[in-house]
Amino acid sequence: MNKIEDAFSGKKALITFIMGGDPDIQTTEKLILAMSEAGVDIFEIGIPFSDPAADGPIIQAASVRALGKGCTADDLFSMVKRLREKITKPIVFLTYANSIFAYGKERFMERCRNSGIDGVVVPDIPHEEKDELSGVCEKYGITQIALVAPTSKERVEKIALGAEGFIYCVSTLGVTGIRDEVRTNITETISKVRSVSQIPCAVGFGISTPEQARDMAAVSDGAIIGSAIVKIIGEYGYDSVEPVKQYVARVRDAINQG
């Protein structure tokens, strides 16, 4: 079984996203370790990008902060390698296609393998362009995580067939961000996935409160939280480790009680 899928066994998974290098590499490293202690199962680390067209203002701002500090993919590879001395939980990169492409697809995936990255989520590589990366991902044992959206409808089964790791179920239309209410046809989407695959489904986009996370995890296999954490990091900067840890612990509790 895939190491990422393993993270879902016997429990609802909590998946968190933070932007690599925001506010700096050292803090990102500390944040990952603190969130691990607080019960996160899978880590998504963003590679900052100049043109994050699938992201809302909170994550855009994090990208700007990280790029302002000069954070590069190389810095993040080194950071993950250091983290691998301390944690074994799955770590995936959330990155736009161009960051991989410009680095060199082959070279990028080789460095993923060598530094201990387990997978990639690439929001601007839909099913139709999957082959852009599938060959190199397979070669280096990197899981390419697929996304489904509320608009996917009859596309869901096609996407789920052959998907690996987990399915990233986008809860709402639009870009990443915090929403008061997460409106979604997630159960319908998940039953479509289930009709062709037993792959875990985790729900993301818009989730910010522990209750929202609990509710989304209850109808799926896990919840993904990004903007809500990135917002705390934006507010507290170098001092964000403790507040992020407390927030994540509350989310973990809520999911466990769900």
């Binding site: 990008f49 100049s50 043109d51 994050p52 067209a53 699938a54 809302g56 203002p57 855009q60 790029l67 590069t72 993919a73 736009y96 296609a97 161009n98 960051s99 991989i100 492409f101 410009a102 680095y103 929001p123 601007d124 590589i125 839909p126 099913h127 139709e128 362009e129 852009e132 996304l147 489904v148 959206a149 509320p150 608009t151 996917s152 409808k153 596309r155 996407i159 986008v170 239309l173 639009g174 870009v175």
Partner: protein
């Protein structure tokens, strides 16, 4: 060749959320592009509303002055709204209406595409919202007001470099959040499939007319067709019907800003590398980590870090030439055409005039050049005055 690809370029590199809308658009476009009634309706709008066919004007004074090839100007500047942008916009707005959409959104750089979109939306009874980099809203304040006069809402974009690429990002974000009733009128031959193909089809009327008009005027094809290029819609429009006519040189002039050896340029073909952004694989100005580098040109319409995927393909095939033209050369050409022919060109189109000035004299007087005069320069008068250090009350 794969569907939606030009060689290795193009594709559909977008978020899953918008894939269903791209599929819907693909299907609708495939249907209506073969629908005689739709084509007749569009033809009627182009002829009776936009003023097609645009003139192919023999620039006699310019020809004599440069002392070489005979120069013709394809007068897209005389179209309704003042540029070639209306060709594409009427096509897409009509298509959106047929698809049952009630709202259109658009990005704009110089404002020409925004104005054209607002115009078509007003005509066809669609709601229109335009996303424009904040820096561009300041450079092209008059066009912002024009769009508002036409009933559109203009959103200044403050993310990133606050120019055209950021306006594209923001329009993509807006589209992903509201797909049901909204069509995104992409303004150039960029973006995910089917946009590069569809926009090219709506613009190819330029080259078809050039060919007809040239055969009538001279009884033969031109030796060169020259156009400016940002995303590349006027260039592909002018070039497309000549691609199989290998003896016709196709020359696209990109914005070299302060020079291709400085950081202040938008010369994607000269200095760019292959990357993925805005739904397509093509050439982009970027660093080794794939961060899109800020681009610069005096011309807001050419101030884009990428280029349409079909152009990337034509460049690789050596079928079209891509040459850099600086701000200084463009401004000189802007003034030159104004004084020589009494035609004030858009500063974008002035890039094509500038290159024509370089090569016409070294081509024999038995040669013929067609320059696609993609837009008129009224919108640029204030910024040219600023460039020249002339104070005027705007």
């Amino acid at each position: 060749m794969n569907k939606g690809k030009f060689g290795e370029y193009g594709g559909q590199y977008v978020a899953e959320t918008v894939m269903s809308s791209l599929k819907e658009l693909e299907a609708a476009y495939e249907h209506y592009s073969n629908d005689a009634a739709f084509q007749a309706e569009l033809r009627d709008l182009l002829n009776n509303y936009a003023g097609r066919p645009s003139n192919l004007y023999y620039a006699e004074k310019m020809t004599k002055d440069l002392g070489g090839a005979k120069i013709y100007l394809k007068r897209e500047d005389l179209n309704h709204t003042g540029s070639h942008k209306i060709n594409n916009v009427l096509g897409q707005a009509l298509l959106a209406k047929k698809m049952g959409k009630t709202r259109v959104i658009a990005e704009t750089g110089a404002g020409q595409h925004g104005v054209a979109s607002a115009t078509a939306a007003a005509l066809l009874g669609l709601k229109c919202e335009v996303f424009m980099g904040k820096e561009d809203t300041e450079r092209q304040a008059l066009n912002v007001f024009r769009m508002e006069m036409l009933g559109a809402k203009v959103h200044p974009v403050t993310s990133g470099t606050m120019t055209l690429k950021d306006a594209v990002n923001e329009t993509l974000r807006e589209w992903a959040s509201r797909l049901d009733d909204t069509h995104y009128i992409v303004g150039s031959v960029v973006g995910p499939h089917p946009f590069p193909l569809m926009v090219r089809d709506f613009q190819k009327v330029i080259g078809i007319e050039i060919k007809e008009q040239m055969l009538k005027a001279e009884g033969r094809l031109p030796d060169a067709v020259i156009a400016c290029i940002g995303g590349g819609s006027n260039a592909i429009g002018a070039f497309y019907d000549f691609i199989e006519d290998k003896e016709v040189r196709l020359i696209a002039c990109e914005a070299a800003g302060l020079g291709v050896d400085t950081p202040k340029h938008a010369a994607t073909m000269t200095n760019g590398t292959v990357g993925i952004l805005h739904g397509m694989k093509t050439y982009f100005c970027q660093d080794v980590y794939g961060q899109i580098t800020p681009v610069y040109s005096i011309s807001a319409g050419l101030d884009y870090p990428g280029v349409g995927p079909e152009h990337a393909y034509l460049a690789d095939m050596h079928r079209a030439e891509y040459v850099p033209v600086t701000d200084e050369e463009a401004v000189d050409a802007f003034r030159y055409l104004s004084r020589t022919e009494g035609i004030i060109p858009a500063v974008e189109s002035a890039h094509a005039i500038a290159y024509t000035r370089k090569i016409a004299g070294v081509m024999g007087d038995d040669k013929i050049i067609v320059v696609n005069l993609s837009g008129r320069g009224d919108k640029d008068v204030a910024s040219i005055a600023r460039y020249m250090g002339v104070k005027i009350n705007e």
